[in-house]
């Protein structure tokens, strides 16, 4: 079995902690099993293992999320990067092509596709085994997961089951009376979880692509129809089956729904005065948040800003934050993370950017240049190594390095490195960064400056 996780969404509904780069699925706000915190992505990964599912996992996503995924999931998870955002049908075809042409997956095997961020029980993943068996048994092109409805919702799609788990029809967003009637007939919510054989999907893909080869699908990605998998595949399939799941199933996309799942009333440096009622505070800043006598309130403080909202009003955040045009003030990278302390633009257009950069022990940045930025880096703590235009030097606390624009450079950490970086640039910083190959070990050993990695 192969599992494809669809990781999309760069919304601001969990502003200030989510932004264009840090989608909600990467926020480490859920309680893990060791008394710490995990993100939605990490929770799903952990639950798949816990359900005893031995599957290869591929995440289909956009380039902006690669660093976060690499930072949060183990290296054995494959990442398929969509060249552009085009809805779920092209994304799933791309992932399937990857499984076939790069992973050499047996075409008879089952692929299960699901969103990366459902808030569910482990049983949700155990259901995959039944879905896999149903695919392998034959007679159904696609096997869906159906969620047992807990109320006659008007906002979900309903799957109408027939005999032997066959699907006889769908109903999108019915009114409440219809929903009630559908539930009486055993209808289930469509969770967007699909199981099929790789062979079946690639047969459909053939109608859209000239070559199944992954690099060709990438190259012609813009030709794939910008449509949902439901519309383009599921609704056109000859035979569909459904497997029910009746555990918890939530979309935690607002501060109100997220705080409902928090075990503690606060995360981070927070002081709650005694008279607080139904108040949740999440503080990612290094300064304390003090809350006194509040009620039904969520407070979220991060590098991008501070939200103070009545819980029931927190879902109306979007129009209020979508015009905030600040650059993201926090980024998770495969090698660590950075926080922006200050971002200033001066009268003549010159910009200065002050960041706190953490490079994790054993990790290294890409070898890169800034075309328009001069950079001064001061080592606040840790041990590491710097390469500038092919020359290596050791780094330790108190060292300062001035890197001029167009100088290729990278830093790697022997132990966690805390760096303060000040970048100064002219106005035009579009396409500022370019990345090059670099092999630390080859260079250190040979002192050469050839190209290898």
């Amino acid at each position: 079995m192969n599992i494809v996780l669809l990781s999309g969404g760069s919304g601001k509904r969990l502003w200030p902690l989510s932004n264009e780069i840090r989608s909600k699925q990467f926020l480490k706000l859920l309680s893990d099993e060791d008394g710490g915190h995990e993100s939605m992505v990490q929770r799903v990964y952990r639950q798949i293992a816990k359900a005893g599912i031995n599957a290869d996992i591929v995440v289909a996503t956009s380039a902006t999320q690669v660093e976060s995924i690499r930072g949060q999931l183990p290296d054995d998870v494959d990442i398929v990067v969509e060249p552009e955002r085009r809805n779920t049908f092209p994304a799933i075809v791309l992932a399937a092509s990857y499984l076939e042409s790069r992973k050499k997956m047996d075409p008879e095997e089952t692929v299960i596709v699901l969103p990366v961020d459902p808030y569910v029980d482990v049983e949700y993943f155990e259901t995959f085994k039944t879905m896999d068996a149903r695919v392998q048994q034959g007679g159904a092109d696609i096997v869906l997961m159906g969620i047992t409805p807990s109320y006659p919702s008007e906002k979900y799609g309903y799957i109408i089951p027939g005999e032997g788990g066959r699907v006889t029809g769908f109903k999108e967003k019915p009114d409440e009376a219809t929903a009630r009637e559908l539930i009486g007939r055993g209808a289930l919510w469509n969770a967007g979880v699909f199981a099929f054989s790789l062979k079946y999907l690639m047969g459909i893909a053939d109608k859209y692509v000239q070559s199944r080869e992954f690099s060709d699908v990438i190259a012609h990605y813009a030709d794939l129809k910008k449509d949902s998998f439901d519309y383009e595949v599921v609704e056109k399939a000859d035979a569909l089956a459904v497997v029910p799941y009746s555990g918890a199933w939530k979309d935690i996309g607002t501060w109100n729904t997220l705080t409902e799942e928090m075990k503690e009333e606060s995360i981070g440096d927070v002081i709650m005065g005694e008279a607080c009622v139904n108040t949740h505070v999440i503080n990612e800043l290094s300064i304390p948040v003090v809350v006194l006598g509040t009620q039904d309130l969520v407070v979220a403080a991060g590098q991008d800003g501070i939200l103070v909202s009545d819980k029931h009003k927190s879902s109306y955040i979007k129009p209020h934050v979508e015009n905030i045009d600040k650059r993201p003030m926090y980024e998770e990278r495969r090698w660590g993370e950075y926080k922006v302390y200050d971002y200033s633009q001066y009268a003549d257009g010159t910009k200065s950017l002050t960041k706190h950069v953490t490079i994790n022990a054993g990790c290294a940045q890409d070898y890169h240049v800034h075309k328009y930025k001069d950079e001064v880096i001061t080592v606040a703590n840790g041990q590491g190594e710097l390469v500038v235009d092919g020359c290596l030097m050791k780094l330790s606390r108190g060292d300062t390095i001035s890197i001029r624009r167009k100088q290729k450079h990278a830093i790697r950490a022997f132990e966690d490195l805390q760096l303060i970086s000040v970048q100064i640039s002219e106005d035009n910083t579009e396409g500022d960064t370019e990345v090059f190959d670099w092999s630390w070990s080859a260079r250190a050993a040979e002192g050469s400056d050839g190209k290898s990695q």
Copy 2:
């Protein structure tokens, strides 16, 4: 007439904007006359001028407040620094000694002493003229200001008047019934505003000090009784008079009372969602604060932290913040200001401190050393000049200077300088900074390294 402003108090009741160094009277949260904001100290200074009072002004305060006062009031205001905090009696004796021995004030002239932060009308200061005339008329050792009570308060002291404005007695914090009865007899609240001739006070001072000379009073300050002026002088005086004032008189010492006087519902980068009721937001940070659907709430965000409080609960803040032992993250200096971005302590006790320093055009730092700190300074914007161990160099955007511990240094700004400073130090940083004399112009002209300023 001379005015002595008593500037005390380093409370945390307006945390996070007030701290040990930045007392509430320095917060620029009140509306000035030009559509901007002014602090309580600046408001009092402006109102004195507006009342048409032509007086020299002396501020009696502690060393920690000198930089803020210099940053907020014109240079013609004198500052008398109390060697230690010892209550109002010693502070007033010290200021009087300064007026006599340093300012050579005529001993017959009137001195008026008041707290630095009353929130009042201009008429309050116009009352000073009547108080001055009453002192000069003779027959009263001390003339008090009496506030016309607006309700039978149990928390103030009452002045009981007799014929011709004479004072016949006092009553501290009476119960409500007594207060009502006192008000019926024309009693007034004691505002802590005292007028007397310099001669009278120095006569009393003679009982406590061996020499009236300012430097001697400074040297023997610890011998002055740690008592209030009310207790040590007013209550022992033979003849007291009172002059009434019936305008506004408030102590804005809590977020609730302060926000009542704010003309706008927010200051700083704030987005208020439409459904906010009786909500005030003050944001001194460079990231936005978004507030949605809140009621009776005050939000204050500053370098030291973030407060979210029900307005009626905001006066209970003290116990919740008094154990926050972070260093002040914002300081106003005579030459500008600094914000702390990051303050970290590492496993071996080493500390790093990252600051954004602004030096105002035309201003200069003291010539100083750090005994235990190495410092790296990067110029983010502006033009200026640096001296290190007697050597001068120009500074402009993009320059980086590494200053090792024990190197004497100072920076002055030709145009506003924005600096990023990273200081790295061993654990023991007590008494780290020492200041030396330095004359920019003399050195620039002579290139010498003698001592003069």
